[in-house]
């Protein structure tokens, strides 16, 4: 039985959820999803090898989730990639904020293909 890595995808847009899920599964990952921010911490506690975290979701402050995850002893070592459609390198500081809160990386969805995301995941998980 191969040891499949599990990716927890926290994302509210269903079209994007399906897209990333298809891609990740094709690459051999187990995919878990959370579309409601209120369930996020619960799901995270159930364990994952990596988290893809959206920021702007209803009922969810993605940065807050990131903060909390990094504070808990059992969760703080799970790498988190902030995968969002807010923020911009040219006018905002969200990237810096994400890193300062302990994110492993910060990617703007529209500037990266699903393959780009997979590359990033591979570089982190090995």
């Amino acid at each position: 039985m191969t040891n499949k890595k599990s990716i927890l995808l926290i994302e509210d847009d269903l079209a994007l959820v399906e897209m990333y899920r298809d891609k990740l599964r094709k690459e051999g990952y187990r995919v878990l999803t959370v579309t409601d921010g209120r369930m996020a911490m619960q799901r995270i506690r159930q364990g994952a090898d990596l988290i893809l975290l959206d920021i702007l979701m209803p009922n969810l402050n993605g940065f807050e989730i990131l903060k909390r995850t990094k504070k808990e002893e059992e969760l703080k070592n799970i790498p988190v990639i902030v995968l969002t459609n807010i923020g911009s390198d040219s006018v905002d500081n969200d990237k810096k904020l994400a890193f300062s809160l302990g994110a492993a990386d910060y990617m703007i969805k529209s500037l990266n293909t699903p393959s780009d995301v997979v590359q990033k995941i591979k570089s982190i998980l090995g």
Partner: protein, 700 residues
Amino acid sequence: MQRICEYCKQPTLNELNIDDKKTYLCLSCGKISNKFIESHSDIVSIDTKKGVKHITVGALIYDQNGRILMVKRRVWPYVYDFPAGHLDYNENPPQAIKREVLEETGLMIDKMELLFNGEIENDHCRYGASIHEWYFFRCQVKSPVSFKNSELDSIHWLPLEKIRKFELLPAARYVVDHVIEKKDSLPEITHPIYHKHALLDGEEKQNELIYHISSALLKIEHSDNILSVATEEILTATNIDSISILLKTEKNEIKCQITKGKQLFNKHSQEIAEKCARLGKNVMGRSKNKSLLALPMISNGETIGVIVAEMCLPGFFIERETQFLTIVTNEIAVGITNSRLIESIKKENDLLTSVLENSGEGILVIDNYGKILAVNKFLEESLGINEKDLVGTNSASLAGKLGIGDYQKKVMLAMKSKMEGSRLYDEVEAKLPSGEKIWFGLITSFIRDSLGKITGSVIILRNITQEKELLQAKNDLVTTATHELRTPLTAIKGYLSMLKEGDAGKVTPHQLKYLERAYSSTERLVGLVEDLLSTLKIEENKINLDIVDFDIGEVIADSISSLKSKAKSKKLKIHYKYSPTYVHADKIKSKHIIENLLDNAIKYTRNNGIISIETKSQAQNILISVQDNGVGIPQKYKTLVFDKFVRVKNTLSVNAGGTGLGLYIAKSLIEKQGGKIWLDSEHQKGTTFYFTVPASELCS
């Protein structure tokens, strides 16, 4: 071959050294001579066990005025009457002595006290014992009775001089002549042992000692030390053989914490100590070879422990000494209680301090006049103000500095109005001394005294700036628009790329061609959205700069590697010589600017071209130049290129793509950072873009 007494012929001769003459004392008959007989046979065998000790007991019988009534001497074989070391003579004068004295003199011994004992070594005794001990007692008599000897005074008090007239047995004479000073009064008996056991000379010395011990106790900081120092002091100041301090444990047991001096503390001592603790009074104890006094340490009406003073020999705690020890014990009790109190206060203090200091939120404590009583580390750091400059000042002035005066007034009012229970929850925007604006979430609760009156407030401050900003961002049109535009674009771009990659099945070359075209259009749209967003934000003056000191050389190198493949596809060479160059600007935005310029250079240079990037130090700025040998920019566009949506028409512009916003954005960012941007160009020869960034004050 042995020496025997010339008088009684027993082989029990003791050699005495009196005035350097060899003298022999016979232990059987008591006669002294300076010669002995050597016998070649066992004349007498004394029926005693081998290894037995012979004790010579002499009784100097005194009355209460100190006059010697009688001197008696008797040899007591160890086995039969009282073995050496088991003399319980303070309360029970040995019956044999009592009887004999009574028979011979009619005097009844009431009390006996050890006066002197010494050891004489005898290596001639054939019965194995090598030590002979002499015990001399003073005995207090109950009822004087007339002596048989008529020369004695009828009320039978005899001064010492008269005794000498009697034919004292030699051993007694020895004692009288050599041990007892030629005075009548008892306290003058100066044999070393007796003197040693006088604990204190007089009341003056006693007070001095008490003072000394108290002072020593006052200097102690740790309660562990008190026991050690106290015992040392007592031992040094007096001649007590052993001091032990016992303390009451949580289980209410009296446990010995420390013993100093000779190791006399044993089970018996423990029992006496426990009795003392139970009764709360001094208790004396005597055992075979020691006497002890247990004194209770009382604090606040409760016994907290016991001090046990022990002496190797019995009967040594007279009233004066007991009083002295009682005073010292009380001092020690107070000392222990005080140091315990101090320690428990310190512990609580440490705990509180630890809680405050390690809090992840700012804590401010004020009294009901608004004076700042305490701040924690987090608050110091959040505000960037030192504790020294906060504590003791009025919170109104701090509030004024931060621009939250209204809030402070609200708290003061709330304290005065005697609000029932409840807390205040507020959010305020404050301006820090550094100029930074942050949002604080504040929870204020009130401190009350035992009567319920408000005596102050505790304010907890949380930095909620990020949350506020995010909330505001949510409401921000530009942000929402960006998000709403980007999301469907993400899906389109994503699925197209997945189709291209064959995720939905094998793709024919024909299909791939169409997919590529669709994909590149999507990319253009994505780029346009990005640039529009940036432009909108710049227009609304909502650029957030994060100024730090960093190495721009590194950033240039990174940008080059990000665009390497693009350059490679046109076979373009990028020249850059890295050297650490420190600037004071926004790192991420600088990267954006450099990538933009580099991207332009790549776009507007024909295949096989060369691009070079250089950095130069210029007074307070760093000058960066991006040079290409591409199509160049006509003179009239030199400044126009920095406007929105301007794209110069040239032979390559059809394939160049881009929105015409890149340079507008770059210029806005550069100027916001405190720099300038301009260009040099020659048509068809190439273009060089120059821009400046403030240099860092750090040495590179």
